[in-house]
């Protein structure tokens, strides 16, 4: 079996970023149809993204804004907290 073209993995990533042109997309598709190893790799990439996206969105605590406001320096300009 001939080795996979080096750029195939790059094509996968460009595809995932919506950056792959038509021609290269065809090349990628053809290769994936023939190569189960790359197909597996591509599947794992998509699975990893799906897992990260499945993390639930969490919210800041109810008193978050009050705490921030309480933490603001009283005087703006030079007299206040200088960092």
């Amino acid at each position: 079996m001939k080795p996979c073209p080096e750029e195939i993995i790059d094509y996968m990533h460009d595809y995932l970023d919506g950056d792959l042109n038509r021609e290269k997309e065809e090349t990628l598709k053809h290769h994936l149809q023939e190569c189960s190893e790359c197909q597996h790799h591509f599947h794992e990439l998509k699975k990893a993204i799906a897992f990260v996206q499945s993390t639930s969105h969490i919210s800041a605590s109810a008193d978050f804004t009050d705490k921030v406001m309480a933490g603001l320096p009283k005087e703006k300009k030079k007299i206040g907290v200088q960092r």
């Binding site: 993995i9 790059d10 990533h13 995932l16 970023d17 950056d19 790799h41 794992e44 990439l45 699975k47 990893a48 993204i49 897992f51 990260v52 996206q53 499945s54 993390t55 639930s56 969105h57 969490i58 919210s59 800041a60 605590s61 978050f64 804004t65 705490k67 921030v68 406001m69 933490g71 603001l72 320096p73 703006k76 206040g80 907290v81 960092r83």
Partner: protein, 187 residues
């Protein structure tokens, strides 16, 4: 949205501190979310997220109103997170073993505090596993992955937030995805 944000910023610049509260309300969840996914710890994330808003307030004069406020704010937050990660001692990590409790990690202690129906427990465990794997990413990959896949920001905006060329952001997204692929393949 941007019009309202700019109006509030002008009020803050004139010395109206209360106008800032509205900006905090608008962005607190997103900023907290970034910090939590970067740091993997709620308490730390709250501290850093609050600090980010305070810094934004103190430095509001330096914000260029022609730009997007959220980009500037997220930049302050990610920079604070990155500083924190760099200063952090490895024994702060949640998966460190708790002394004297063989095999028991902080994770299992945290999880044991709350009773949940079984499927939610499973989901919580999965969520924790995923967060743990995100936390294992080197910080330069972690920031791009969090901004792209959790905040769902376009690569161009990520490049502005992190002050990195677009090409560098893409390379880091690619490498971050490869790292996650290896870490999460067995799930």
């Amino acid at each position: 949205m941007e019009a309202l944000v700019n109006k509030r910023i002008k009020q803050v610049l004139k010395g109206d501190q209360n106008a800032f509260a509205e900006l905090v309300e608008l962005y607190k969840d997103k900023v907290f979310q970034i910090c939590f996914r970067m740091l993997g710890n709620r308490h730390e994330a709250e501290d850093i997220a609050q600090e980010a808003f305070i810094r934004a307030y103190v430095n509001i004069e330096t914000f260029n109103q022609k730009r997007k406020f959220s980009t500037w704010l997220f930049r302050i937050a990610t920079n604070l997170c990155i500083d924190r990660i760099r200063k952090k001692k490895p024994d702060y990590f949640l998966d460190a073993e708790v002394a004297g409790t063989e095999g028991l990690t902080m994770y299992s202690q945290v999880a044991a505090d709350v009773q949940l129906p079984e499927d939610e427990v499973e989901n919580m465990e999965l969520q924790e596993t995923i967060q743990k794997e995100i936390s294992k990413l080197p910080e330069k990959y972690r920031s791009v992955i969090v901004l792209k896949y959790i905040e769902e920001l376009p690569l161009q905006e990520i490049s502005e937030i992190l002050d990195l060329p677009l090409g560098t952001v893409k390379t880091r997204v690619h490498r971050g995805r490869e790292a996650l692929r290896k870490q999460l393949r067995s799930l």
